[in-house]
């Protein structure tokens, strides 16, 4: 089952909107609550990254029996050095955005900590693609 959400760059008043839609959908599917919580953190951070850094993006959420896959694709400045972007505390966000409590350099590390897989590819000047996978089975085994 696939659903797609549009994410508008720079529109902070709508940041988190797609994430709450995804949360609602996953709850309706009656998935394990711990799994939903992990997906929500990863989804929110991916969504906010597009709002903060890109011009426009989409989140494609695909739920199968085994896993939830979220693919963020944006048009934006891209990431020059992905290893550096993954470092906790590293951020290119503006002062204004930081004052709101965003841009603390914790977004990608949060995704990494809560998702089972995180794959990033980026073309500077064009955009970024972030793939997040959370396995459904693994959570059931844990509980």
């Amino acid at each position: 089952m696939k659903t797609q959400y549009d994410i508008e760059g720079g529109n902070f008043s709508k940041a988190g909107f797609a994430s709450s839609e995804v949360k609602r959908m996953l709850k309706q599917l009656n998935l394990d609550i711990k799994l939903i919580k992990r997906v929500v953190v990863a989804m929110y951070e991916g969504e906010v990254n597009i709002v903060v850094h890109a011009y426009h993006g989409t989140a494609e959420v695909d739920v199968s029996e085994k896993r939830i896959r979220i693919l963020f694709t944006d048009r934006g400045p891209g990431i020059k050095d992905i290893d550096q972007a993954m470092q906790a505390g590293f951020s290119t966000a503006t002062e204004k955005i930081r004052e709101m409590g965003f841009g603390a350099g914790m977004g990608l590390p949060n995704i990494k900590a809560h998702a089972d897989e995180l794959n990033i590819s980026s073309t500077p000047g064009k955009g970024t693609q972030v793939e997040i996978i959370c396995y459904i089975k693994k959570d059931h085994q844990n509980t």
């Binding site: 902070f12 008043s13 940041a15 988190g16 909107f17 994430s19 709450s20 949360k23 919580k37 929500v40 953190v41 929110y44 951070e45 906010v48 709101m100 409590g101 965003f102 603390a104 914790m106 977004g107 590390p109 949060n110 900590a113 809560h114």
Partner: protein, 112 residues
């Protein structure tokens, strides 16, 4: 202990989301960094912060937090209050600093 009990015990002001005052409070988290709260707070906690904008409520809702406590007499923006009413997650406030109110909430929850 519910949000209402915390409001009474710590002499807090209720700004919005009063439909959620019966939510149980099982802990607290003090931070002004949104990703910190996203990554580390958990369901039922009261979030102590100085951030007053709408994104606070997006996080409170996504994380199923019990309440948002604004420090230093800060007041929520209008659209933040609307979001709080809609999600039935109260925004309450104090004149105290984050340090002071965190200490008092901690004591209160540990003694109940």
């Amino acid at each position: 202990m519910t949000v209402k009990d915390v409001v009474k015990a710590l002499n807090l002001t209720v700004y919005s989301g009063s439909d959620g005052l019966d939510k149980p409070v099982n802990g607290g988290y003090t931070s002004d960094l949104l990703s910190d709260v996203m990554g580390n707070a958990s369901e039922g906690m009261a979030w102590i912060t100085l951030q007053t904008h709408k994104n606070v409520m997006a996080i409170a809702s996504l994380k199923d937090l019990s309440a948002v406590i604004l420090v230093n007499n800060l007041q929520p923006l209008e659209d933040t209050q609307q979001y709080s009413n809609q999600e039935q997650i109260p925004i309450v406030g104090t004149t105290l600093s984050a340090f002071e109110i965190s200490g008092r909430l901690h004591n209160l929850l540990n003694s109940s």
